[in-house]
């Protein structure tokens, strides 16, 4: 398939940067047991983007806003309702998906249906240059954050209460991590779609997790796997004319399955 070079460069840059940010944040999300919150944020980003399309606005700010709102309300809602946060998250998953589909259903006219499908299934060629620049800026923020605060993050990943007891303001770091996770999800939405974006966080981290006991190697290895699988999925989608998001998630899932089978950690005493 022949594609204009500018389009290819934007698409490849989008895939690499989304693979990078999502998989770095995935290390924290997986180890700090934030998977449910991250999953709810990705659904919220999908619903927010759908709402943006429905009202004829830019979907990206709406996706960001919705994912942050979910992160902010989970605690208070569970407290007021007297329910455990997992129960509230389970309720939110279905509600947000329903709202997302409702907003897409209410999109007026045929012309916008392409935009609606792009956030649902993902369209790497729909990624704009300013979204790539935003992903690049987020990648830089993530690198600086990890470089400056790796000892606090590692302590929190080991045991949050012990980290708090040693004098780390864990709530501040958790808030920062949730915000960066929300940004990563919202900016990667167009790449693989609202229903699959979370795989970009979980799969690369879980793959590297099979091979190392060293936290530093996880933080370095996860984005390498994330970027590689994004590029491989992109290439597979061009080769076999598959939806890009689907191809990326399938490639990363195959890599993860292979890693679980080959994992030396499971054999080591």
């Amino acid at each position: 398939m022949w594609l204009p070079p500018a389009l290819m460069i934007t698409a490849v840059a989008g895939a690499v940067l989304a693979g990078f940010t999502c998989s770095v944040m995935g290390v924290f999300v997986v180890r700090m047991n934030l998977s449910s919150i991250g999953f709810a944020m990705s659904h919220a980003a999908f619903a927010g983007a759908a709402f943006g399309i429905m009202i004829g606005s830019d979907p990206l700010p709406m996706a960001l806003l919705a994912s942050f709102l979910v992160a902010l309300v989970i605690g208070p809602v569970s407290h007021i309702a007297g329910l455990r946060p997992e129960i509230v998250l389970g309720f939110l998953f279905s509600l947000l998906i329903a709202l997302g589909f409702l907003f897409l259903h209410m999109v007026p006219g045929e012309a916008t249906s392409g935009a609606a499908l792009r956030i649902l299934w993902g369209s790497i060629f729909g990624v704009s240059r300013y979204e790539v620049v935003a992903l690049g800026a987020l990648s830089a923020v993530v690198v600086v954050f990890v470089a400056l605060f790796n000892k606090e993050i590692a302590a929190m990943m080991f045991h949050r209460k012990l980290a708090e007891a040693s004098g780390i303001d864990t709530q501040a770091f958790l808030t920062a991590i949730l915000f960066m996770t929300g940004f990563s999800v919202a900016l990667s939405l167009k790449l693989v779609g609202g229903l699959l974006v979370y795989a970009l966080m979980i799969n690369p981290t879980s793959t590297v997790y099979q091979f190392t006991f060293d936290f530093r190697k996880m933080v370095i290895g996860s984005p390498i796997i994330g970027m590689t699988t994004c590029l491989a999925g992109f290439w597979a989608s061009l080769l076999w004319d598959l939806p890009v998001g689907t191809a990326i998630v399938l490639v990363s899932a195959i890599v993860l399955a292979g890693a679980i089978v080959a994992s030396p950690k499971r054999r080591r005493g």
């Binding site: 605060f149 080991f158 045991h159 012990l162 007891a165 040693s166 080591r268 005493g269």
Partner: protein, 262 residues
């Protein structure tokens, strides 16, 4: 027996010297979402270098008391100070000068942490943001591992250690920063006799070296021999506070432990 509102019975004078490092006056705390306080009107002073065992049945409030001293739980009434810092306003300053060994928890066997990394995590809070462990800190971490007899296990995955080894690793993490006060929450839980003896002798040596030790233990037989003072708790209150011998031979402890402690 120990009715609500009763003051703890002082049962003997304690031989303690030095400055007061922990001072709690009328301290109560309530967990978020609960109506009943988990601690009621706690009065307690601990002097530098003391070794205090906090004993009592399950649900007595022993762990809650440690969490209050660490500033992890807010005070609903009363006031407290630790190492001269106010518990309500200077929580982080207090925590950075204490070592805490949390109740034994299950670490995922595949967790990506080597033993030496876990010990270095002890410095994360005390150093503060944007400061990194020095060569001296790294040497202190090696020394801490050596003190708990785990020098040879520095490169082993933390999740693959046995219960006793993991407990000693958490102790090394707490000791690495040379804290003024060590708080131990059930350090002997789920340990066999030899692991208990090993952890107990490390705690003894730490106290001998001058650190103040507060140790929560449900198991009265596991308390190390150096421990001279015991605080008996029940339903969020201090029931008795005195020498180890006096508390162990008291009527109250027989009632709370069903006479099985002798």
């Amino acid at each position: 027996m120990n009715g609500a509102g009763r003051r703890p019975r002082p049962i003997s004078s304690r031989s303690s010297s030095g400055e007061t490092v922990i001072e709690l006056r009328g301290v109560s705390t309530t967990y978020e979402g609960e109506r009943t306080p988990a601690l009621h009107g706690i009065d307690m002073s601990v002097r530098r270098g003391e070794f205090v065992a906090i004993v009592g049945p399950n649900g007595a409030g022993k762990t809650t008391l440690l969490e209050v001293v660490l500033g992890l739980l807010p005070l609903s009434s009363g006031r407290g100070s630790v190492l001269g810092c106010d518990l309500a306003r200077e929580r982080y300053a207090i925590r950075r000068r204490m070592g805490y060994v949390i109740q034994n928890f299950e670490l995922d066997p595949l967790a990506p942490f080597l033993a030496r990394d876990v010990v270095m995590m002890g410095f994360a809070g005390s150093l503060g943001p944007l400061r990194y462990p020095s060569v001296h800190d790294r040497e202190a971490a090696v020394e801490a591992l050596s003190r708990v007899g785990m020098s040879m296990m520095a490169d082993r995955p933390a999740g693959k250690l046995s219960g006793g080894e993991f407990q000693r690793l958490l102790l090394a993490r707490a000791l690495a920063t040379d804290p003024d006060i060590i708080l131990l929450d059930e350090p002997f839980a789920n340990l066999d006799a030899s692991a208990r003896a090993s952890v107990g002798s490390v705690v003894d040596r730490v106290n001998q070296a001058g650190a103040t030790v507060l140790m929560v233990s449900h198991d009265l037989h596991a308390i190390p021999s150096r421990c001279a003072r015991a605080v008996l708790m029940d339903r969020g209150r201090i029931v008795l506070d005195g020498t180890m011998e006096a508390v162990l031979s008291s009527r109250e402890i027989d009632e709370l432990y069903g006479g099985c402690c002798h």
